[in-house]
Symmetry: C2
């Protein structure tokens, strides 16, 4: 089976590392970063480097580029694939890509997915075996994918131990604004606030593991995150406004020595303790 | 040597667990939570439960209560101690306590410290051996502590592997607003924003390890953090204003599709990667 992976990074790379344990694949990688492709060959992620010119030979295509690149190439990919080929993307936004392919004659060979897995690292060097075990795989608009191709995808996701959850692109993007995209902006801007005032040495000396945890996402790559944030900006701006207004309220409580409200706000968010312990447990399953 | 620990929690408890490896101490615990005291005895952190009425027998007092309680009792403690006793606090704010003791006749038996160590957990159950190895211990106004008592303290901190750094209370509180207190508020309010919109099940399913990391500090106890934030509110409000203004700018970039500025902001904060790797390395030393 010829498997093309376009954008050989953490997610796509981890997918094929796992899949290779369950079948015979020739994995062909396409990426605009030659260094990244070399690492992918060395690590046994891909078998050879390919080109979009031969994409019509593919049986499965994993589209795992940054989400702006995905939008730029998805229609051409659909134009070029043979009629037994399944193509699925793994991007963190779902509305823009679903809207774009909506009226393509080969829409039913595409499946929109978002695996909830990953770290703050990127590139083929960051791909790991077993990344998707017990992780949620979000699928959107499954009824628009051809039944045989949907079943093929479900079979692969099941081999990797993924847990399927379906939602509309709009629900997906709205949830992600809260539980992922806002966290990234909060980390980026917290990092900026501290970097503008503190020297590297002071941060190293004076910051504890709490700060390290809170800004861990500030390591995330601009290439990947700038287009995600722009494509989901409508939802993100809504969550940012709520977040900023919560921060303003908290500031006013401080200003007015409102001990009772500060204490209540902290206790309210302490509810997260059990939920977060659940996330850690899932991660380590 | 009679060592009193007032507030038998993560920091005070970890201190005596370590100290006991390097000398003969009778450790007497005082705490308003009987359950916590029972655990402390069971875990061998304290040898017995004591009372403030006998505090004049103490050779060393570790004051590790929440910072509002410390302010309430420090003057009485100084009134009551014998003249060979060293008392040091470990609180996350330094200006308020240093101001309060400034003119006490026994000011020179007090040392203001802040060990940069800890987790989001609290209570004697959270105390661990080796917590302070290679961790920074901030000391304020060392010249106001009697030389023999300062040396006694330095000797103990050195046994635990702590790295001493001196600064004024005002410098301390200003730095902490940036590298610690702001992170906590950012986490609390991010947690609140998400909890107000998402169900526990959705957070569990849809949030990845990134969200978990960003809001980890939202587990922190209100009892400990409400008074810290109030005592350092002047510095914190300044950092909160900068943080909110950075978030507003970022929102405007999104609104205006300003890809270049979004990308630059993310790349700027990516500088933190090396610094954060340093913090993780320090943690694991």
């Amino acid at each position: 089976m010829k498997l093309y992976i376009i954008g050989v990074g953490l997610i796509g790379g981890s997918f094929v590392l796992d899949l290779k344990n369950f079948g015979d694949y020739q994995v062909i990688g396409i990426d605009n970063d030659n260094e990244n492709l070399k690492i992918a060959i060395k690590r046994g992620i891909i078998d050879k480097v390919g080109s979009l010119n031969n994409i019509n030979e593919a049986d499965i295509i994993i589209l795992s580029t940054p989400v702006d690149i995905s939008l730029k190439i998805i229609l051409n990919l659909l134009d070029s694939i043979n009629n037994r080929c399944l193509i699925f993307d793994v991007g963190s936004t779902k509305q823009t890509i679903c809207d774009l392919v909506e009226n393509h004659p080969k829409r039913n060979q595409f499946l929109a997915t978002h695996p909830i897995a990953g770290t703050e690292f990127s590139g083929s060097k960051a791909a790991v075996l077993g990344l998707f075990k017990n992780k949620i795989q979000i699928l959107c608009e499954v009824n628009k994918t051809r039944k045989d191709l949907l079943n093929l995808a479900l079979e692969k996701f099941s081999l990797l131990g993924m847990i399927i959850r379906e939602m509309t692109p709009s629900e997906h993007d709205n949830h992600m604004a809260y539980v992922s995209h806002l966290s990234h902006i909060s980390s980026f801007m917290l990092g900026k606030t501290v970097l503008d005032f503190e020297t590297a040495n002071n941060i190293l000396d004076l910051a504890g593991s709490g700060f390290e945890s809170t800004v861990r996402l500030a390591k995330s790559s601009s290439e990947m995150w700038t287009p995600i944030l722009l494509q989901n900006k409508k939802n993100i701006i809504k969550t940012l406004n709520i977040y900023i207004s919560n921060l303003e309220n908290f500031k006013n409580y401080l200003n007015n020595n409102n001990e009772k409200n500060i204490s209540e706000e902290i206790k309210f968010t302490n509810q997260l303790t059990n939920i977060l312990n659940g996330i850690v447990k899932n991660k380590n399953k």
